[in-house]
């Protein structure tokens, strides 16, 4: 720093925020800088280099400039200004899509509880990350994953709460791996904000909600289906969501695989709406030799958050691939750049997030029909309640009632067209639910026919006799 050396000072006036800062003016021990005389078009008065010959090269101005707007170099120095900027994207080939893989479990019959079958479905689907927090009646999924992920070289972590669990799951998904968490009502409530973040950032992941009787702590080990509307509307902002509802241990396995496939296919969080019955029930299920899996599409260098197609699903890169990803829950354009005051970008994004789901109903919608021939009354049921309902429908049929049943395996997006179609053939719908009426209201939105709710909110599995009596009682009127 001796005075026989001379320095050049480069001050980037466009970056200088002027008189409210002037840190350089005040920090320089030699008075090299001065308050500005020129007012810019932004109305700022940038500082100026007044006496460069006084500079001793202490660099304090360069270090303290909040805008990185000052460069001090020794005259005749050798410091190189690097102008190379990293390029977007690597030159790796595109990848992803459908593949057929060997089942992770031996083909044939297995016997376990639904929560464990769900975990096995996740392993079969290639899940490599589980982040969770203990909660009845979902804990067995986590316990089973803790064991299985050791065997498959995956990552398991018990987080400090459900907010952290879903956060870690989303982080892991962007790190390039299929990831999941499982919880029940209270934890599901805590996860809502980050589920919305996953929707907005188009992050594939699976969230299992093993529903229990609420509200609040309610009856922790008792079944209910009170979270159906929460799954759809729980996160703020109003966006389409995919939710599946298994009714057996077989479907705890099958629909978990399907949930991963839909998550990867549409880049969305997919919710598996199980309940304390399907979670804790122990029964046998079949495992095929091979399963079909969908892996997220990767197209290096392609915009990760936009599509020319208004219902398109953009390809998804991962961290560490040189894409300089800008991932944000704020409104963003196709490159992830925040556009928090642009009405067009916001509208286009919000619509596409929904349309990429609703435009592909045929790929998502899943249901099963029972006794549909000549059915004048159709029972619409889902989850464990459908087990009770099917018994009741069978009994009613045996006694001459022209009753059929539609079992919804996918609840969201709601298959309204299916209800409209059946509404033209039948006279009325009956919806048994272990809540105060959630899907029954949605069914009514899609048909002019009468829709009757058979509600039971006592923390028990739907009493099959309650449904039977309703079906038979109607006859006597």
């Amino acid at each position: 720093m001796s005075k026989d050396r001379t320095f050049t000072i480069q001050l980037h006036e466009d970056l200088c925020k002027g008189s409210d800062c002037y840190i350089c003016v005040n920090a320089c021990p030699k008075g090299v800088f001065a308050e500005g005389e020129r007012i810019t078009s932004k109305g700022l008065r940038p500082s100026q280099v007044k006496d460069p010959e006084e500079c001793i090269g202490c660099d304090i101005c360069e270090f303290l400039c909040p805008e990185l707007g000052i460069t001090v170099e020794e005259a005749g120095g050798t410091e190189q200004v690097s102008t190379s900027t990293p390029k977007r994207g690597a030159t790796a080939p595109a990848s992803g899509g459908w593949t057929t893989v060997q089942s992770s479990l031996d083909p044939g019959t297995h016997y376990m509880i639904g929560d464990e079958a769900c975990a096995e479905g996740a392993i079969a689907a290639g899940c490599g990350f589980y982040g969770g927090y203990p909660i009845t009646p979902a804990s067995e999924i986590m316990v089973h994953m803790a064991k299985r992920l050791v065997e498959t070289d995956g990552v398991f972590i018990q987080m400090e709460d459900e907010i952290g669990s879903i956060a870690a799951v989303i982080g892991a998904s962007w790190a390039g791996i299929k990831s999941m968490t499982a919880t029940a009502g209270p934890g599901f409530s805590l996860m809502m904000e980050n589920i919305g973040y996953a929707c907005m950032t188009e992050t594939p992941c699976v969230v299992v909600d093993v529903q229990r009787a609420g509200p609040s702590t309610g009856q922790a080990s008792r079944p209910a289906s009170g979270d159906v509307m929460q799954a759809k509307w729980g996160t703020h902002g109003g966006v389409e969501i995919i939710a599946l509802a298994p009714w057996s241990v077989q479907e705890m396995y099958d629909l978990t695989i399907k949930a991963f496939n839909l998550a990867e296919r549409f880049r969305v969080p997919v919710i598996l709406l199980a309940d304390a019955i399907t979670g804790h029930l122990r029964e046998s299920f079949q495992v095929e030799e091979t399963i079909e899996l969908f892996d997220r599409i990767k197209v290096p260098g392609a915009p990760p958050f936009g599509s020319d197609d208004e219902s398109g699903v953009p390809p998804m890169p991962s961290f560490g691939e040189g894409e300089e990803l800008l991932i944000t829950g704020s409104t963003h354009n196709r490159y992830g750049i925040r556009k928090t005051a642009d009405p067009d970008v916001h509208e286009r994004l919000v619509k596409r997030l929904s349309k990429k789901i609703t435009a592909h109903m045929e790929e998502i919608t899943d249901y099963e029909l029972y006794f549909e021939d000549g059915a004048q009354r159709v029972v619409v049921a889902y989850g464990s309640t459908a087990r009770s309902a099917l018994w009741a429908v069978k009994v009613a049929r045996e006694r001459g009632e022209r009753v059929g049943m539609l079992r919804l395996k996918s609840l969201w997006p709601f298959p309204g067209e299916l209800i409209r179609e059946w509404g033209r053939r039948c006279e009325e719908f009956i919806v048994p639910e272990t809540n105060l009426g959630q899907i029954s209201q949605v069914v009514q939105q899609h048909t002019p026919n009468p829709v009757s709710l058979v509600s039971q909110t006592n923390g028990e599995i739907m009493d099959p006799r309650r449904v039977r009596d309703f079906l038979m009682g109607r006859k006597r009127h």
């Binding site: 466009d14 400039c65 909040p66 190189q80 900027t85 870690a168 989303i170 962007w174 390039g176 560490g320």
Partner: protein, 256 residues
Amino acid sequence: MGEMLREKYVRQPTPFCPGCGHGIFMNAFLHAADEIGLDFKSTVFVSGIGCGAWVPSPHFRADTLHVTHGRAIAFATGVKLTRPELNVVVISGDGDIATIGGNHLIHAARRNVPIKVFCLNNLVYGMTGGQVSATTPEGDITSTTPQGNPERAFDLVALARGAGAPYVARFPVVRPRKLTKGIVNALRFDQFAFMDVLSLCPTQYGRANRAKRGYEGPSLIWGMLEWQKGICVDREKASPEETAGKTLIGEWYAEG
């Protein structure tokens, strides 16, 4: 150096207020990153909500994950466990990391997840209009404590050390070379590292506390920088008498 760092690592000018301490941290961070040759292609920056979170996103030419309020450390945990070969760096504010997100901070420290956490502590909620934070000093004026903050402030160094963080540091932006050296050490550290970066918010905190704190000088931010210099003492150099009532700066490595 400033020009080179900006061209190499920064996408666009920042929207920070004139004299923002976060800009000085950003400057120091890029000096440190360049000094050790931190590969931005294999670094993921995670940040939450608030002014501090904007330092990496959308500014750094690297993978950036800008998440929900308070949850940056939890997201970062998922990234790091899945891809241990990536550098995972959390940069966010005191509201984000130490107030709404305090639970994730203490648990990441306890687990010793090998991520780096830089808490840009400007003592206030800047973006939302100058509300009190868990690090606002007792008695100070904010928009939600117009008669003075009735609560005590968190000592983030003590908090992180108590939670088991093997590397903890505190440096003020007014000492940019010390700060840069600390960032170098934190980035090079192979375990969980936490830094309480004493930043400054002239707009929300400075204006409200100008009279109380007696910020003097040719400008508000300069007065704040002078004040910050005055309250900080180096933990290694100062005698016990000199540290009374002061803010200790330096590095704390866990023993063993």
